[in-house]
């Protein structure tokens, strides 16, 4: 780990000032940043500590849930409104990491999580377009069992590892940010960007822009939601494939659906085709399976991760089944 400066702004304005510059990194929980610092993947000049600046409040009102970016994963997962009104979010959070990491990790940090691609995380590997633009991608012809099949490009196939983001995507979450030049709101689905030919860019955020809040609108659909995660061991492992789904039912019929995929996309993935296919259909296994098959349209797999083409739809079906059985 290289040396760096540490600054502790007292308020948001100070943080916005101090966060300017490419070699500044914001830190809250530290679970990702300290990890990458120790791997020498991140080499910032200074760390800007947002713990005194971000709100950790989680408040519920008629519109929905407003989550301060400083709230920890644990608090969010066990918030009674989250468990009642949008269980997929709680389930997703509790399926991720470990209790210790959930206690440390902030919501803002979780949004900006970086890939677990082992080639990215190993500075001894030269070819990583994310770390060194233009150097190539070691994963494409390497060991890519954990890598993405959706949203990949010739330059990068790294999967986005977050569970929380997948759930928030299925909940139509909105991300609120502040920058020196003002404030804005982004749909979560617009926050993360595809690698394309610039995998070093992962979000729409401008340098020095801080995520301050996440807003999740309340809805019937959010209440009937579920998260299913498939992984190699019973706990403390990243997703091979995961699905966050939410169903709005009218009697036995699906009025609207949200399906978001994890572990298979270079960013959290909205399965729009599958969602459309479910509209107006009965909430049965047959409909679920038909829709799930559509989720892999456009997928490009390697010999190592081709199994995800079979696995991901099954995970979607399992999640839809779980959501459908909730009252």
């Amino acid at each position: 780990m290289r040396d760096f400066q540490y600054v502790r702004p007292k308020n948001l304005d100070e943080a916005l000032e101090q966060g300017q510059g490419a070699r500044r990194r914001f830190v809250a929980g530290g679970t990702l940043l300290v990890d990458l610092l120790r791997l020498d993947v991140e080499r910032p000049e200074s760390l800007v500590d947002l713990n005194g600046v971000l709100s950790s409040d989680i408040t519920w009102d008629a519109h929905g849930l407003t989550i301060g970016a400083g709230a920890r994963n644990t608090e969010l997962a066990y918030h009674d409104k989250v468990m009642a009104e949008m269980p997929v979010l709680s389930e997703a959070l509790l399926s991720g990491a470990s209790p210790q990491l959930r206690n440390m990790a902030s919501v803002g940090g979780n949004l900006l999580q970086r890939t677990r691609c082992s080639y990215f995380r190993d500075v001894g590997v030269d070819a990583c377009n994310k770390r060194k633009p233009g150097s190539g991608c070691a994963a494409r012809e390497g060991y890519s069992r954990m890598h993405a099949v959706l949203g990949v490009s010739e330059h990068c196939i790294a999967a986005h590892p977050s569970d929380m983001c997948v759930a928030l995507l299925a909940l139509d979450a909105v991300v609120r940010t502040r920058h020196r030049s003002g404030a804005r709101e982004l749909a979560l689905g617009d926050l993360h960007i595809l690698p394309g030919d610039h995998p070093e860019l992962e979000t729409q955020l401008k340098p020095g822009e801080i995520v301050t809040e996440v807003f999740v609108p309340s809805s019937e659909r959010a209440r009937r939601s579920a998260y299913v995660k498939s992984r190699d061991r019973a706990s403390y492992a990243f997703a091979l494939a995961s699905a966050a789904v939410a169903l709005e039912l009218e009697g036995p019929q699906i009025k609207s659906a949200r399906i978001a995929l994890g572990g298979v996309g270079t960013k959290p993935w909205r399965a729009l085709e599958a969602e459309a296919a479910l509209q107006g259909k009965p909430a049965t296994r047959e409909s679920f399976e038909a829709a799930a098959r559509l989720t892999m349209n456009g997928a490009r797999a390697t010999s190592h991760n081709a199994f995800k083409l079979e696995l991901a739809p099954r995970v979607v079906v399992a999640a839809l089944t779980a959501a459908g059985s909730k009252s």
């Binding site: 530290g30 300290v34 470990s98 990491l101 440390m104």
Partner: protein, 348 residues
């Protein structure tokens, strides 16, 4: 020029015979005193740092001590007492001052040459004064890397005399050992940027100067000597470093010391109340929820957090909620049993 008396002394001085060609700390003091376990532990650490054995020469007693052995008391004989008396002379130690509580500490390097000497008042006890003098000796030995390197290069090139021989020379021909002139100080290398940090650990305040990149785990282990929290991966992937910060279980390896602030930190060293073990600790013993013991402090701290959280109750829930603590020895089944048993003993 060793005479038969010195031969006998050599036999008595098993330690010295083994230590021929090795650094030695000579301490002239009234007696050894009775160091507390903590002081004795610290004396051992200083001796290891010097790579030296310890020889305590009292008025009527002689103690040899290598840091990883027990203290060896040598029975005084007439020959020994005479030899020791000579040493008092050569090292300019006044028996009267000694009797009044003065302590003189000399560090001899592997060639038998005197590299450091300090006299101190042992008002608050000989062991404590000995420790303080040792600590200063240790720091002096390393003050300024350029100096130390010069010393070390010279040491390697010097012909080694046996320590017994050196002592024999001192005793037999009475030649004085010179304190060499300290090498001229060279400019210090760039210092790292350190910042003051106060850590509240197990109810005690610790003031430290740390670089921002120092983890809480390394601060505990390397700076505060609290090695109970373990490093299993340094990347938040095993849980061996689990401690409580503000009552919440976290991975100390991913926590920067400079970010802890005044939140209270609890480590495994803070779980027992004096001799009375925490119910988790007692249960781990009874249920044999450990084998090599390396993941154990993290397991216990994680379990303490789990009990406080009060969300995991069934065996399966406990398993899931302790899955952030890897046990390579495979003691999981007993760990679950221990946690459930401890919960029953002290419900939260």
């Amino acid at each position: 020029m060793l005479d038969a008396g010195l031969d006998r002394m050599g036999q008595h001085f098993q330690l010295l015979a083994r230590s021929a060609g090795q650094p030695l700390v000579l301490v002239f003091a009234r007696n050894w005193g009775e160091p507390s376990p903590a002081t004795l532990e610290a004396i051992r650490a200083e001796l290891r740092g010097l790579g030296a054995a310890l020889l305590v020469l009292g008025l009527h007693s002689l103690f040899c001590f290598r840091p990883d052995d027990e203290l060896e008391e040598v029975e005084p004989t007439a020959v020994l007492e005479a030899g020791v008396g000579k040493l008092f002379e050569q090292y300019e130690v006044d028996p009267g001052a000694l009797a009044a509580g003065q302590l003189t500490l000399c560090v001899l390097d592997a060639t038998g040459r005197l590299r450091f000497r300090r006299t101190a008042d042992a008002a608050d006890g000989i062991p404590e004064a000995l420790l303080r003098a040792l600590q200063i000796a240790g720091k002096t030995a390393i003050s300024g890397p350029a100096d130390a390197r010069d010393w070390l290069i010279k040491r390697r090139e010097v012909v080694v005399l046996s320590l017994l021989g050196a002592l024999a020379l001192v005793l037999a021909d009475g030649c004085k050992r010179e304190v060499p002139n300290a090498p001229a100080p060279t400019p210090a290398p760039p210092k790292a940027r350190e910042f003051p940090v106060t850590l509240r650990v197990n109810g005690q305040q610790h003031e430290l100067m740390v670089e921002p990149r120092v983890s809480l785990l390394d601060a505990l282990r390397e700076r505060l000597g609290l090695t109970g929290s373990k490093k299993g991966c340094d990347h938040g992937q095993c849980g061996a470093c689990t401690v409580l910060v503000d009552g919440r279980r976290v991975n100390a390896c991913l926590t920067l010391a400079i970010m802890v602030g005044d939140k209270p930190v609890t480590t495994i060293e803070g779980m027992a109340e004096g001799e009375r073990l925490h119910p988790l600790q007692a249960a781990f013993i009874t249920e044999d929820a450990l084998q090599c013991g390396y993941c154990t402090p993290g397991q216990i701290m994680s379990a303490a957090g789990l009990l406080k959280e009060n969300r995991a109750h069934t065996d399966d829930e406990v398993r899931e909620h302790l899955s952030g603590n890897i046990c390579r020895c495979g003691a999981y089944a007993n760990i679950v049993r221990a946690v459930q048993s401890a919960r029953a003993a002290r419900p939260t």
